[in-house]
Symmetry: C2
Subunit: 370 residues, 2 copies
DNA sequence: ATGAAAGCGCTAACAT
DNA sequence: ATGTTAGCGCTTTCAT
């Protein structure tokens, strides 16, 4: 992987031999002095220390690694660190690694299987001690193969063909509870904008949404469900479309964190007031959600705990400690916290066409709401 | 006969020699086959390819590095990737590195010189091709020494003793223009909450603030200036204190991005209305600033461009291209954009304590910008 | 076209 | 306490 790095600008590196020669002693003595070996003359140690400083010696990790040093780098492969969830995760894992004597290497896949492959390969070539990864849905077969022979923890998402332990959020439960809340306060036309089902998280959360409807026997109009990329832009368009519907939703449920901004943009553009015109529930909980006016009701994630758990589990695997759960592959699913704040309210009476009481709902069955 | 499957799944690594032995050829032939050497039998190449797959061979980066491979990792050392500025930076640099054939290694210093040292050392030991760093104010001497013999670009902050080129935002100018705006619309008691002057960015921005006052001959009450850590918590306390003053500020200028959330919390707690009770200008421009009600007036940063420039400059240094500017160390200072939105207004007429609806509501004095 | 051998920087046996 | 040597995985002459 050295195609672009043509030449190092600074000169060649000072080695242990250079120091030995400079001091007129043997390189093994230098090595011992450096590693504070018991049988080493204090004078020699001191001389070596000074020579090291003077000559600017920096140990060569490659050489050490070659000698069988159990590398101490841990790879973290995330799709997008601008997503608050992943930002916090990176920070936490980094901290945890430092404490555990590891060096975290963060790589951003941008959800591209080719990038993902490059990163995994580089990590394997560097003999990383372990890898934490949020797998892309389209993970390449060769990537999968590369992941077989190294400690791995899947984070947030779970790839069907990967057997490595996973730590994720129970998105189905989270969305289920949120949707249930909306249904309970009377909404029957709830718009859902979330990730495509190729991602495990996307599929789960969508399932939570549909299950909530099933539970109360409410019909789910498929026109109200918009699936796409986990980005503000997609969400903005999707919410915009939803609002244009002849029979628009009375509430909105966002299935991923970066989508919030898009939804808010669309809402602002449509000049709709939350929650009087429309109820809104988001996913994730960056600090500003609770400062918004009105404070944003959301599905909060215990991000810190998840990141901690993840790092711990990987380190356990690396050191060959006891398994996280039963069997070789434990999948931990952490429950989100539904944070009811101020962006939900019962739906407004239908302006224009229908009347609310006794009027036949055009779409929903009111079955269970009495 | 070696059991291939066993080898592949075992913890120890398959080497080029294992393949040679498996195939009954010499390891140098394998090496040539792998690097697609011209004088190699096509059959052999094919056999090797299959053996590689079967045995799960992964090249050893350390061995290659030891042979003199220039190494293609670029280190990025940032204080805090939850800060939007740095999050975007990491994403951008990562992307740019991938395109340039490099592998970005992101390390988080948390502004701790010891962490910083560890990261720089690890990077140097790994023979990183170059390093992009936001130096901590208290950088250790040994860290500084380590940074002397490798391509380095300073990002966002600039360490007085480091001569490496830097790319940063002209915070003095940014804050100056913002403060000027507040002074022009009549504010005379402006609170400034920013980073301590030990950071170059902190010192610069504060200078911008004081200079704006000097320019119009306005007195600056030092009680209105609060310097501390670039975190929401500090800002919350500081703003809270400012609001308790017997003669409280009529406007607030925040000197760093993460402080915004803290300020908003304090404002909410004090039940103050922006901009009628108090004007507010922030630093940085995450997407939600322009969605806030009222839309947040802020000092915006061309983050993407800065990150791009930074990566480019480092790659230039690595490949020994033409210098960025004059001399060995060019310091690029990029101008921020003052984004006048809706959180500033002329101060309320000063009378006793509070009045509610006297102030003229002129939100967008759009004309001004930098 | 392929094999043999040297050597990159370092550590750890093994000899002094 | 210090020197000598071998070898980690790989590429690269140099011989075949």
């Amino acid at each position: 992987m050295a195609n672009a790095a043509k030449l190092a600008s600074s000169g060649s590196h000072v080695t242990i031999k250079d120091i030995a020669e400079y001091l007129g002693i043997s390189h093994s003595t230098v090595s011992r002095a450096l590693s504070d070996h018991p049988y080493t003359n204090a004078d020699t140690k001191e001389k070596v220390r000074r020579a090291v400083e003077k000559l600017g010696y920096v140990p060569n990790a490659a050489a050490r690694s070659l000698r069988g040093d159990p590398g101490s780098i841990i790879g973290l492969i995330l799709p997008d660190i601008q997503n608050e969830l992943f930002g916090v995760t990176a920070q936490t894992v980094s901290h945890r690694c430092l404490r555990g004597g590891f060096q975290m290497v963060l790589a951003v896949s941008e959800d591209d299987p080719v990038n993902e492959y490059k990163h995994v390969l580089a990590l394997r070539e560097a003999r990383a001690a372990g890898i934490i990864i949020t797998p892309t849905p389209g993970m390449l077969a060769k990537t999968h193969a590369l992941l077989q022979s190294v400690p791995v923890v899947q984070y947030s998402r779970r790839h069907p063909r990967l057997s490595a332990p996973s730590i994720s959020v129970d998105g189905e439960r989270g969305v289920f509870v949120a949707a249930q809340h909306l249904l309970q306060i009377g909404h029957r036309r709830i718009g859902y904008v979330g990730m495509a089902s190729d991602k495990s998280t996307g599929a789960e959360r969508l399932a939570g949404f549909t299950n909530a409807h099933k539970q109360v026997g409410a019909r789910l109009d498929s026109a109200l469900v918009r699936l796409g990329a986990s980005h503000a832009d997609f969400a903005r368009t999707a919410v915009g479309d939803l609002l244009q519907l002849s029979d628009p939703p009375t509430a909105l449920l966002m299935g991923s964190n970066p989508m919030t901004v898009g939804a808010l943009k669309a809402l602002r553009q449509a000049d709709l007031e939350v929650p009087s015109d429309l109820s809104l529930i988001c996913f994730g909980d960056p600090p500003w959600y609770s400062l918004w006016t009105p404070r944003i009701t959301t599905i909060g994630l215990p991000t810190l705990e998840m990141a901690e758990a993840c790092a711990s589990e990987l380190m356990r695997q690396i050191s060959g400690g006891p398994a996280l759960g039963q069997g070789p592959a434990a999948h931990l699913s952490i429950e989100p916290m539904f944070l009811v704040r101020e962006t939900t309210a019962p739906p407004k009476p239908r302006s224009g066409l229908k009347r609310r009481r006794g009027g036949a709902k055009s779409a929903g069955s009111r079955a269970l709401s009495a």
